[in-house]
């Protein structure tokens, strides 16, 4: 399979200072093996765009502990005490974005749209300094598209061309993230033959995917655990 790669090799393609789009909602649909490798890599000054920063010491939370991050853009960081702490000490920049604005901004990044007008956050602190415009049904604020240098997504399966399907609500931000970066790496549980995923069922067509890596995690009791922890 042409796009199949080793986790160690693809993570080398990430450069210090890159903006990473990372799929997942908390730890669900999160590319855990790629994150582990980045944490081990010593990369610096990364900006992560993701709904959360995982949990304390887990998922994207590991990048905080490892000191890879300069900035996080997302909707909800309060569930990771490390993020709150790093921000208080001035060690981490945080840009807070409403969850729907985040999803739409990333989709726009992938769609060649520079910005869009939404009512979400109108009249709040998060709209301060943003361009306002009045349309037929009232005032809207302009939100700009978000793009990444690299996107890391987690899918259930890839086929040998790189088409992806996701596991239930593990889909979340992954399909949008996969459209909006120069380099897109998908971590998957398994690879099947092209043709095994029906044309109507493919969620992320292969055109978006540059590399596919196999996860090092195994699912046990409905949760991904590292092989060492598995029974």
């Amino acid at each position: 399979m042409k796009k199949l790669a080793q986790i160690e090799d693809v993570v080398k393609l990430i450069k210090d200072g890159d903006q990473l789009l990372v799929g997942g909602f908390g730890l669900s649909g999160s590319p855990l093996s790629l994150i582990d490798e980045i944490a081990a890599s010593g990369k610096k000054d990364l900006t992560v765009v993701s709904n959360n920063l995982g949990e304390k010491g887990k998922g994207l939370g590991k990048l905080l502990v490892a000191g890879n991050l300069k900035k996080a853009i997302g909707s909800y960081f309060t569930t990771n005490a490390d993020a709150v702490n790093a921000w208080s000490k001035g060690e981490l920049e945080i840009e807070l974005v409403p969850q729907g604005t985040l999803a739409e901004a990333v989709r726009c990044g992938g769609a060649g749209i520079a910005g869009f007008y939404t009512k979400t956050a109108l009249g709040t602190k998060l709209a301060e300094g943003k361009h306002h415009m009045t349309f037929d049904d009232g005032e809207y604020i302009l939100e700009k598209a978000i793009k990444g240098d690299v996107a890391l997504v987690k899918a259930l399966k890839a086929d040998t061309l790189g088409n992806l399907v996701y596991d239930q609500s593990g889909r979340n931000f992954n399909p949008a993230m996969a459209t909006a970066a120069n380099l897109v790496i998908a971590e998957v549980d398994e690879i099947v033959e092209a043709g095994e995923i029906k044309p109507e069922e493919i969620v992320t067509p292969h055109m978006f995917v540059d590399y596919v890596v196999i996860t090092k995690y195994v699912k046990q009791g409905g949760k991904y655990v590292e092989p060492a922890e598995a029974n």
Binding site: F25, Y76, P98, L122, G123, E139, S169, A176, V203
Partner: protein
């Protein structure tokens, strides 16, 4: 009355508001109690992370942490449920396709403006889908205890906490009362506890018109 019982009473009262066929989004806090009280109603639970038709918590052996609610708890799918990505999920919320959003609140002012994401002086590091729901749901019901733990009123003349959006909510239900908002005005519609009108007024700095009128048959 124990706090948990008050919260259950609020959940029940709000559940009674739902109509068959409605699409409902339930926020964190008291709203998460509501699913226990909607049995027999044909409503469909929407979850920000990409589900329509969320069902009850699974048995331990069927838990899949890639099938979770927006509160990150394992759930199941009811018959006819669907799965979609975050951008489609928020298209639903922001495009006015969710009939009712039930949200918690830190404060609500007498015009129906809500504050439910940040406390001044504390770290402001989480907003989640709060502002999306406030801006987009067809009807917004706030589920909240009447006062905070230290008895500070939550229903105020003016917000002192950061607003969640210019859009006004439609209804507030507390353990004591149900209020409705119309054209920027607040109306007391139902008394839900044994509180007196005077005592209610004392813990409710917001100006409201008394217009008791059972909103629905509960």
């Amino acid at each position: 009355m124990l706090s948990q019982q008050k919260r259950i009473d609020i959940a029940k009262r709000i559940a009674a508001e739902f109509e068959d066929g409605q699409i409902i989004n339930l926020g964190v806090g008291i709203p998460t109690l509501i699913p226990d009280y909607i049995e027999g109603k044909d409503v469909y639970l929407h979850s920000e992370n990409g589900l329509l038709g969320m069902g009850p918590t699974p048995e331990e052996e069927f838990i899949n942490m890639d099938l979770i609610s927006a509160s990150k708890k394992p759930v199941t799918l009811n018959t006819g449920a669907s799965i979609f990505d975050s951008s489609d999920s928020f298209l639903m919320i922001r495009g006015g396709h969710v009939d009712v959003a039930v949200l918690g609140a830190l404060q609500v002012d007498e015009t129906g403006e809500v504050a439910n994401w940040a406390v001044p002086g504390q770290n402001i590091l989480g907003v989640g889908g709060a502002m999306d729901l406030v801006s987009g749901a067809k009807k917004i019901i706030i589920a909240t205890l009447h006062t905070s733990k230290d008895d500070t009123p939550k229903l105020l003349e003016e917000l002192t906490y950061p607003s969640s959006g210019a859009r006004k909510v439609d209804m507030v239900v507390t353990e004591h009362a149900a209020f409705e908002f119309k054209e920027g005005k607040m109306f007391l519609r139902e008394i839900l506890s044994d509180i007196s009108m005077e005592a209610l007024k004392d813990i409710t700095p917001a100006n409201y018109e008394v217009a008791i009128e059972k909103l629905i048959n509960t």
